[in-house]
C-alpha cells in the first residue's frame, strides 16, 4: 500500500463536515447517526425525516431516533452534555423520499446544499413490499436524491465556493446480484458493460430492463387495481367476507371492514405483482429487483454529475460491538424465523447446509459508510463497495442452524405452562417440500376454522376456534417466511469484498480499530451465541424463564382495570351475556304457562320446528328477527303476561343466569358506576331485573283498547350500531365518558357496542367474537351457568286454569291440522 493512498484519520477528515442522512429512523440510519455523533466529534448530522400527521420532523427525529436505546451509550458517556451535543450537531429537516425534490422547502434545499455528504439509506426494506411502493422508494428514490443534490449544486458552489461538491453515498444491497451463481464483484452495471462481460448476468439484465416502462406499469397497476377492486362483484365479495367475519355487526362496521379488505386485496395484488415481476427477471424478490434498477437509474441519470459511491451490504444483523453488542432495531428478516424456530413452530426451513448465509453486523456497515464518506468519491466516477462476509469470513447455513439449535437447547423458550420448548432438528429439505407441507397444513387449518366458525359454539369452545385461527396464522406466517426468505438461505452468489478490504487497508491503524469493518473480525460462534441470539430473545417478548403463565395475571389486571372506581359506566347485553336464554325461550315459557299438559308439548314442538328458520333470521338481521318474532304476542293479554313475567324471571331467566354476570353488575353498582342494560328483550320480561340497572333500554309492545298486545313494537330495540348510538347518547346526556366505560357482550353483532367503549369485555364469546377479542387483546370472561337449570323453557303446570290464553287455542288447532296459527305466515317470513 503506497503511503499516499493511506487516508488521514477519519475523524479528522470529517471534522467540520456536514452529513445528511435519509432513512435515519431505520435500523442502519439510527446506528449511523449515533456513530457519527459519538465517534466523529467534529461532524454535524442532519436527518431527513418525513413528518407525520402528529409530529413534525424534529419531534419525530427526537422520538424515533434519539430516544432509541442506540443512544444509551452516548447519553451515559456525555451525561448532561448530551443535549448540548444534540443541539450543536444534530438537526432534522422535513422531507419525503417518494416525492420529487424530496419534498424539501427552500430552507431544506439550503441545508442540502450545505451538506458535504448525503447518505441515502432510506428504503422500503420489506421483501414483500407492494410493487408500487418499492418502485417509488427503492427504484426512484436514489435518483431523486441525486437529482435534488444536482439541483442544489449551483447554490452550493455560490454559497461555499471552496467546498467540494456533495458526495452521495447510496446504500443498496448486495442482493442486487439476484439469483447470480458464483462470485459477484463490486462493479456497477456500466463497468460490467464497459469491461465487455459477455456472460448473461444480473448486470446485463439490469441493463436491458426498460426502467421507464417498469415505473409506468407499476403506477398503472396500482390505478388498475383501484378500479378493479371497486367492481361490483369484488365489492360483493369483500362484503361477504366481512359479514362472515363479523356477522351482523351493523352496516358501518361491515363497511369499514369491507373497505379494509379492499385495501388489503390491492396490497396483496401489488405484493404478488412485485415478486412475480422480480422472479421473472431473475431476482429473488421485489426488494432486490427495485434496488438493482434503482442503482442503474441513479448511475445512468446522475453518475456523471453527482460524485457518488454505492454501498452494498448483505443481510444486516445486530451489532457486533457498537454501540453495544447485540443492539438491534426492529424485528428483521432472520429474527422472526429464529423465534418461530425456537418456539417449535417452524419444524423445517429450506436451505442448503453448505450454502453461505451472508450476514453482516450493522456496526461494520456503519463503519464502512463512514469510511467511504471520509475517503470521498472516486475520481473515475461512480463506484461500488460490498459490505459482506461470505467470501472473507463465510458462515455456512448448516453451521448457523446448529449454532442456533445449540443455543436454544441450552437456553430454551418456555411455553404458556412454563415448560421448556424443545427445538426441532432441521433436515434441510428442499424449498418445494417445505412449501407443500406448510400449504397443506394452512389449508387444513383454514377449513377447520371455517367449519368451527360456522358452528354455534361459544365460550371455551369458541376459544378453541380462536386457537385454531392462531395456529393457522402461525402456519401462514411460516409459509410466508419460506416464500420470502427461502431464496436467501439458498443463495449461491458470493459477494467479493476486494474494494472494501482495499478501503480498510487505507485506514490508519487507529481507525482500523475504531471504524473496523473487516468482516474477518466476526467470530461466528461467539457472535451467534453471545451477541445475536440473546438480543433476539430479549426483543421478541417471548418467555425465556420457566414458571407459570402470565396470562392469568393479565386477565386479573384487566379485571382490575374494569373494576376500578374511575370507570363511569358499565353496559350489559342480556342474552348469553348475563343469561343463557333468549327471547324465544321467554316466549315459549309465557305461552305454555297456562296451557294444559298435552297442549304444552304441541306448542313446544311447534317452536322447535320453527327454530332453524328463526335462528337464520336472527343471524342475518337481529332487528328484523325481533320485529317478526314479537308478532307472536299479538292478542296476548298484557296484564296477565306482565304478572307472569315475574315468575318467568325466577323460574327460567334467573335459573339460567350466569351468577358471575349478575355479581359483576352488582360489583359495578357497588363501585358507583352507572349500569345500563341494552337488550332486544321485551320490557315486561326484563322488568324484574330493573333493580340491577340505572337504565334499561329494551323493546316494548303496543297494547290495544282491550288490554291485549298488538304484536307491533312501540319501542324498537336497538340492535347493531344503534346500540352504540344509544349508549353514546346516554353517556353524553349524563356527562359520562365512554372511554372510561365498560361494555359486556357475547357476539360479533355487538361489535359496535364493544368498540365504542374503552373497556370492552367479551363474555362467553361465540367464535367470531372470540377470534376478534383475541386479536384485539380484549378481556374475555368465561362465566359458568348456574348448577340447576330447567331442561325445557316451560312454566310450571297451572292446574287451576287451562287455556287462559284464548288465542293459543287457535294455534293449537292449527298445529293439529298442520296450519299456520298464531304468527300466521310469520315463521314463513322467517324462512324467506
Amino acid at each position: 500500500m503506497p503511503e499516499d493512498r493511506l487516508l488521514s484519520p477519519v475523524a479528522e477528515t470529517l471534522a467540520g463536515r456536514h452529513v445528511l442522512v435519509t432513512g435515519a429512523t431505520g435500523f442502519l440510519g439510527t446506528a449511523l447517526v449515533e456513530r457519527i455523533l459519538r465517534s466523529v466529534p467534529g461532524c454535524r448530522v442532519t436527518v431527513l425525516v418525513r413528518p407525520t400527521r402528529r409530529l413534525d420532523a424534529p419531534a419525530r427525529a427526537r422520538r424515533e431516533i434519539l430516544r432509541n436505546d442506540c443512544f444509551d451509550r452516548l447519553r451515559a458517556e456525555l451525561g448532561d452534555g448530551f443535549d448540548d451535543v444534540v443541539a450543536a450537531r444534530f438537526s432534522a429537516v422535513s422531507g419525503d423520499i417518494s416525492s420529487e425534490g424530496l419534498g424539501l422547502d427552500d430552507e431544506g434545499r439550503a441545508v442540502l446544499a450545505d451538506a458535504d455528504v448525503v447518505v441515502h439509506s432510506a428504503a422500503a426494506v420489506a421483501f414483500d413490499a407492494p410493487l408500487d411502493t418499492a418502485v417509488e422508494v427503492n427504484l426512484l428514490g436514489p435518483a431523486r436524491v441525486a437529482a435534488t443534490i444536482a439541483g442544489a449544486a449551483e447554490d452550493r458552489r455560490t454559497a461555499h465556493p471552496d467546498k467540494a461538491p456533495t458526495h452521495l453515498v447510496s446504500v443498496s444491497t448486495a442482493y442486487v446480484a439476484g439469483t447470480h451463481q458464483g462470485e459477484a464483484t463490486e462493479t456497477l452495471y456500466d463497468e460490467a458493460r464497459r469491461s465487455g462481460a459477455r456472460a448473461r448476468t444480473h448486470t446485463t439484465v439490469t441493463t436491458e430492463v426498460d426502467i421507464d416502462a417498469e415505473v409506468r406499469s407499476a403506477r398503472r397497476l396500482r390505478a388498475d387495481l383501484e378500479t378493479e377492486s371497486r367492481r361490483a362483484d369484488r365489492l360483493a365479495q369483500f362484503t361477504k367476507v366481512a359479514r362472515r367475519e363479523l356477522g351482523a355487526a351493523g352496516v358501518h362496521l361491515l363497511a369499514e371492514r369491507a373497505e379494509k379488505l379492499r385495501d388489503d386485496w390491492i396490497h396483496d395484488r401489488l405484493v404478488e405483482a412485485g415478486s412475480t415481476r422480480a422472479r421473472a427477471l431473475g431476482w429473488p424478490d421485489a426488494y432486490a429487483f427495485t434496488k438493482a434498477l434503482g442503482e442503474r437509474a441513479l448511475v445512468d441519470g446522475y453518475g456523471a454529475t453527482v460524485p457518488m459511491t454505492v454501498v452494498r451490504p448483505s443481510v444486516i444483523e445486530s451489532a457486533l460491538a457498537e454501540p453495544r453488542p447485540g443492539w438491534i432495531r426492529g424485528f428483521r428478516m432472520a429474527e422472526p424465523i429464529i423465534v418461530s424456530y425456537a418456539r417449535g413452530l417452524l419444524k423445517e426451513f429450506p436451505g442448503l447446509p453448505e450454502g453461505i448465509i451472508d450476514v453482516i453486523p450493522v456496526d461494520l456497515v456503519v463503519a464502512a459508510i463512514i469510511a467511504v464518506a471520509a475517503a470521498g468519491p472516486e475520481e473515475a466516477g461512480p463506484s461500488v463497495v460490498h459490505v459482506a462476509s461470505g467470501v472473507r469470513n463465510p458462515l455456512r447455513y448448516g453451521q448457523l442452524v446448529s449454532l442456533v439449535q445449540e443455543w436454544f437447547t441450552a437456553h430454551p423458550l418456555y411455553d404458556s405452562h412454563g415448560q421448556p420448548i424443545v427445538v426441532p432438528d432441521w433436515s434441510f429439505p428442499g424449498h418445494g417440500r417445505v412449501q407443500r407441507q406448510l400449504t397443506r397444513a394452512t389449508q387444513a387449518l383454514r377449513l377447520g376454522e371455517r367449519v368451527l366458525g360456522s358452528l354455534p359454539v361459544r365460550g371455551r369452545q369458541a376459544d378453541l376456534a380462536a386457537g385454531i385461527e392462531e395456529r393457522r396464522d402461525r402456519a401462514e406466517r411460516a409459509l410466508s417466511y419460506v416464500d420470502l426468505y427461502g431464496a436467501y438461505t439458498e443463495t449461491e452468489a458470493r459477494f467479493r469484498v476486494d474494494r472494501l478490504l482495499e478501503l480498510y487497508e487505507r485506514l490508519t491503524p487507529e481507525d482500523r480499530g475504531a471504524f473496523c469493518f473487516d468482516p474477518a473480525v466476526v467470530d461466528w460462534p461467539s457472535y451467534v451465541h453471545d451477541v445475536h441470539l440473546p438480543s433476539v430473545v430479549a426483543h421478541a417478548r417471548v418467555r425465556s424463564t420457566p414458571g407459570r403463565s402470565t396470562s392469568v395475571d393479565r386477565s386479573e389486571r384487566a379485571r382490575h382495570a374494569i373494576l376500578s372506581p374511575e370507570r363511569h359506566l358499565a353496559a350489559f347485553d342480556l342474552e348469553n351475556t348475563l343469561i343463557a336464554s333468549n327471547v324465544v325461550e321467554s316466549y315459549a315459557w309465557l305461552a305454555t304457562r297456562h296451557l294444559p299438559a298435552g297442549d304444552r308439548a304441541l306448542l313446544a314442538a311447534r317452536i322447535l320446528r320453527d327454530a332453524p328458520a328463526l335462528l337464520a333470521l336472527d343471524r342475518r338481521d337481529r332487528g328484523d328477527f325481533l320485529r317478526t318474532f314479537y308478532r307472536r304476542y299479538q292478542d296476548a293479554p298484557a296484564a296477565l303476561l306482565q304478572q307472569d313475567a315475574m315468575e318467568l324471571f325466577h323460574d327460567l331467566l334467573l335459573a339460567k343466569s350466569f351468577p358471575a354476570g349478575i355479581a359483576r353488575v352488582r360489583a359495578h353498582r357497588a363501585l358507583g358506576h352507572r349500569t345500563v342494560l341494552i337488550t332486544g328483550a321485551l320490557d315486561f320480561v326484563v322488568e324484574p331485573m330493573r333493580p340491577l340497572f340505572d337504565e334499561v333500554v329494551c323493546a316494548s309492545l303496543g297494547v290495544d283498547g282491550q288490554g291485549r298486545f298488538t304484536g307491533r313494537l312501540d319501542t324498537l330495540p336497538p340492535t347493531g350500531e344503534a346500540r352504540a348510538l344509544v349508549l353514546a347518547e346516554y353517556a353524553a346526556a349524563e356527562g359520562l365518558d365512554l372511554g372510561e366505560s365498560v361494555a359486556y357482550a357475547d357476539s360479533a353483532s355487538d361489535l359496535p357496542l364493544l368498540e365504542c367503549v374503552g373497556f370492552p369485555v367479551a363474555v362467553n364469546p361465540e367464535s367470531r367474537l372470540a377470534a376478534l377479542a383475541r386479536r384485539r387483546g380484549w378481556h374475555v370472561e368465561h362465566w359458568d351457568k348456574a348448577g340447576s337449570r330447567p331442561a325445557l323453557p316451560m312454566g310450571p303446570l297451572d292446574r287451576q286454569v287451562s287455556r287462559w290464553w284464548a288465542r293459543l287455542d287457535g294455534l293449537l288447532d292449527d298445529v293439529a291440522t298442520g296450519g299456520t296459527g298464531l304468527g300466521r305466515g310469520r315463521a314463513k317470513a322467517g324462512a324467506r
Partner: protein
C-alpha cells in the same frame, strides 16, 4: 313387635362395612375395629288414625288453653301459620301432616262461622314456597279455596306494612312479627317437629319475625353459647326465643300451638336398606343398595339430584298435641326424644358422618358447600344432649361431594357469600362484619320478596349455625369433596376415609376413639 331402641355397636372383625350417605350417592366404608356405630331407634309405630288424634288434641288442649272450638267465634280474625318447605325432610307423602291439621282447624272454624281466615307460611327469612310446594303441604282443597283469593300468603319479613313491632324483651331484644298474625284474635300455629329445636316459642318468634328481630338470636355469639341448640336447657337460641315468645303472649297475641312429631320411617321401599343396620341387610337390601348406588353413580349429577329430590318420605305422625305453647312443647320434645335419643358412653376423638343430598334449606335445590357445612357442623354435630359427642379439640370427618355449585334462584346471596366473605375469613365472629351489607342489599331483598330466594343474610345464619362446632373442633375433614370448595370452607379435603382418619390422627393423636353417627334415621346422642 315393638320397635327396637337405638344402640351403639362396636366394630369388630365380623362387622360389615358401614354405609355413608355421600350427597347424591353412598359410600361403604370399613371403619377401624373399635369404632362405635351409633344407630337411632327404629321408627316408632304411627298413630293409627291421625285425623281422630288431631281432633282429639284440638278438643283436649294442654296447659291453660281452652279447646279450639271455644276459641272460635263468628266475626273473629283467625290466622293459621304453618311451617314452610324446610320441614319435614324429605318432603312427606301426601297427605302432609300440615294438610291434615289445617283441614281440621278449618273445619272447626267453619262450624263456628269464622269467615276471616288467612293462612300464612311462616317463612322467616327462608325462600317463598312455590305454588306446587304450597299445594303439596296444604292439599288441593285448602290451596284451591285460599290461594285464588289471596288468603294463602307467605310471610314477608321485608314489607314494613306487613310487620308490627311489639316492643323489647327484658334483654332489649326487638320483637317484630307478622302484622296479620299479631293482630288476629287467634293465631294457630301448625308445626312439624322433626328435631328438638323446632317448635315452642320459636315457631312464632322466629317463623313470623323480621330480620330486625331475628338478629338478636341468629348470630355467632348466641350460637356459640347454645350447647347445643338442640338441647333446650342449654341453648341460648332457645332462651332468646322463649323471652320473645313470652313477650308476644304478654303483648296480647293469643297463640294456639299445634305440634306434631313424625317417626323416622324416612325413605321409601327401594331405599329401605338405608334404614337397616348393615349386618341385617337381606339379599334384597344388598341388591337394592348395589342397584341404586350403581345407577346413581352413572346418572348425571343433575338428574340424580332431581330423582332424589322427587323422593316423598313415608314418614308417619307419631303424636300431635295442641294448646298453650310451653306445655305443648314439653310433650312434643319428649316425643321427639323417644324417637331419636340414644345413650352414648363418653365422648369420642373423631366423629364420622355421611351427609345426604338434602338439608332443610335445599329442598328441590342444590346442596351447596355452605349448606354442607351447616348440615354437618350445624345439625349433625349439635344432635347431642349433655356433652358434645366429639371431645373438644376433636375431629369431625364428613363425607359429601361438596360441589362448587349453587342454585341462583334459591341461594343468590350464598354465591356471593362464598366468593366474597369466606374467601376473606371463616371465623363466624369475623364473618359477622359483612352481615349488615348482605342483609340490607336491595337486590337480595328484591329476590327474597318477589322470587324464591333465601334472604340475603341467610348464608350468615348457616355459618353461625357452625359456630359452636368451629370453636369446639380441632379439625374438620371432608371425604370425597371438591377440594377447592372444601378449602374455601376452611376444612381439609381427603380422598378416602382411611386418609381422613390418618389426617385426624395428626390432630388428636394416635389410636383415637372413633364414633360414627349413622344416618338415616335421625339420631340424637345422649352423652353420659
Amino acid at each position: 313387635m315393638s320397635p327396637r331402641p337405638g344402640f351403639v355397636l362396636e366394630v369388630d372383625r365380623s362387622t360389615p362395612p358401614t354405609l355413608f350417605w355421600h350427597g347424591e350417592g353412598f359410600r361403604l366404608e370399613r371403619l377401624p375395629e373399635g369404632t362405635r356405630l351409633l344407630y337411632g331407634p327404629e321408627p316408632l309405630d304411627p298413630l293409627p288414625d291421625p285425623v281422630s288424634a288431631i281432633r282429639h288434641a284440638l278438643l283436649h288442649p294442654l296447659g291453660d288453653s281452652a279447646p279450639l272450638p271455644e276459641l272460635l267465634v263468628p266475626g273473629m280474625k283467625l290466622t293459621i301459620a304453618f311451617d314452610d318447605v324446610s320441614l319435614p325432610l324429605p318432603p312427606m307423602r301426601r297427605p302432609d301432616v300440615r294438610q291434615l291439621v289445617v283441614e281440621q282447624v278449618l273445619d272447626f272454624a267453619a262450624e263456628a262461622g269464622v269467615d276471616d281466615v288467612v293462612l300464612i307460611a311462616a317463612l322467616a327469612l327462608h325462600r317463598r314456597m312455590t305454588d306446587a310446594e304450597l299445594r303439596h303441604a296444604l292439599g288441593d282443597r285448602v290451596f284451591d279455596a285460599f290461594a285464588p283469593h289471596d288468603l294463602l300468603r307467605q310471610h314477608d319479613a321485608e314489607d314494613p306494612s306487613q310487620l308490627v313491632h311489639l316492643g323489647l324483651t327484658d334483654q332489649d331484644e326487638d320483637v317484630e312479627i307478622n302484622k296479620r298474625a299479631a293482630e288476629s284474635d287467634l293465631l294457630v300455629y301448625v308445626n312439624i317437629n322433626l328435631v328438638p329445636m323446632d317448635g315452642g316459642h320459636k315457631s312464632v318468634a322466629t317463623g313470623l319475625a323480621s330480620y330486625r328481630s331475628l338478629k338478636h338470636h341468629h348470630n355467632a355469639r348466641t350460637m356459640q353459647h347454645s350447647r347445643s341448640f338442640m338441647d333446650q336447657e342449654h341453648s341460648e337460641l332457645h332462651s332468646s326465643n322463649w323471652r320473645m315468645g313470652r313477650h308476644i303472649a304478654a303483648s296480647g297475641v293469643k297463640v294456639f300451638q299445634i305440634e306434631t312429631t313424625l317417626n323416622t320411617d324416612t325413605f321409601p321401599e327401594q331405599f329401605r336398606f338405608l334404614m337397616r343396620r348393615e349386618w341385617e341387610w337381606s339379599p334384597r337390601d344388598r341388591a337394592a343398595f348395589l342397584a341404586s348406588s350403581a345407577a346413581l353413580a352413572r346418572t348425571p349429577p343433575r338428574l340424580a339430584r332431581s330423582i332424589l329430590h322427587s323422593i316423598r318420605s313415608p314418614q308417619k305422625m307419631t303424636s300431635v298435641q295442641a294448646g298453650e305453647v310451653e306445655a305443648v312443647h314439653a310433650r312434643t320434645t319428649a316425643n321427639v326424644y323417644a324417637q331419636q335419643l340414644v345413650e352414648v358412653d363418653g365422648q369420642t376423638d373423631v366423629l364420622t358422618m355421611g351427609l345426604p343430598y338434602i338439608c332443610p334449606y335445599n329442598v328441590n335445590s342444590i346442596m351447596n358447600p355452605i349448606l354442607v357445612a351447616c348440615l354437618g357442623l350445624g345439625y349433625f354435630f349439635n344432635m347431642y344432649r349433655g356433652e358434645p359427642l366429639v371431645r373438644e379439640g376433636g375431629v369431625v370427618v364428613m363425607s359429601h361431594p361438596t360441589p362448587w355449585e349453587f342454585n341462583p334462584v334459591h341461594h343468590p346471596s350464598y354465591i356471593d357469600f362464598f366468593e366474597q366473605v369466606l374467601s376473606e375469613t371463616t371465623d363466624p365472629i369475623e364473618v359477622g362484619k359483612f352481615e349488615e351489607a348482605f342483609a340490607t342489599d336491595p337486590w337480595y331483598v328484591h329476590l327474597y320478596r318477589t322470587g324464591h330466594a333465601y334472604h340475603g343474610v341467610h348464608p350468615f345464619y348457616m355459618w353461625y349455625w357452625c359456630a359452636h362446632a368451629l370453636a369446639h373442633l380441632g379439625a374438620v375433614i371432608v371425604v370425597g369433596g371438591d377440594r377447592a370448595a372444601v378449602r374455601r370452607l376452611g376444612f381439609t379435603p381427603a380422598t378416602t376415609m382411611a386418609d381422613a382418619l390418618e389426617m385426624a390422627r395428626d390432630v388428636v393423636g394416635p389410636d383415637p376413639t372413633i364414633t360414627h353417627l349413622h344416618s338415616p334415621p335421625l339420631v340424637m346422642a345422649d352423652v353420659r
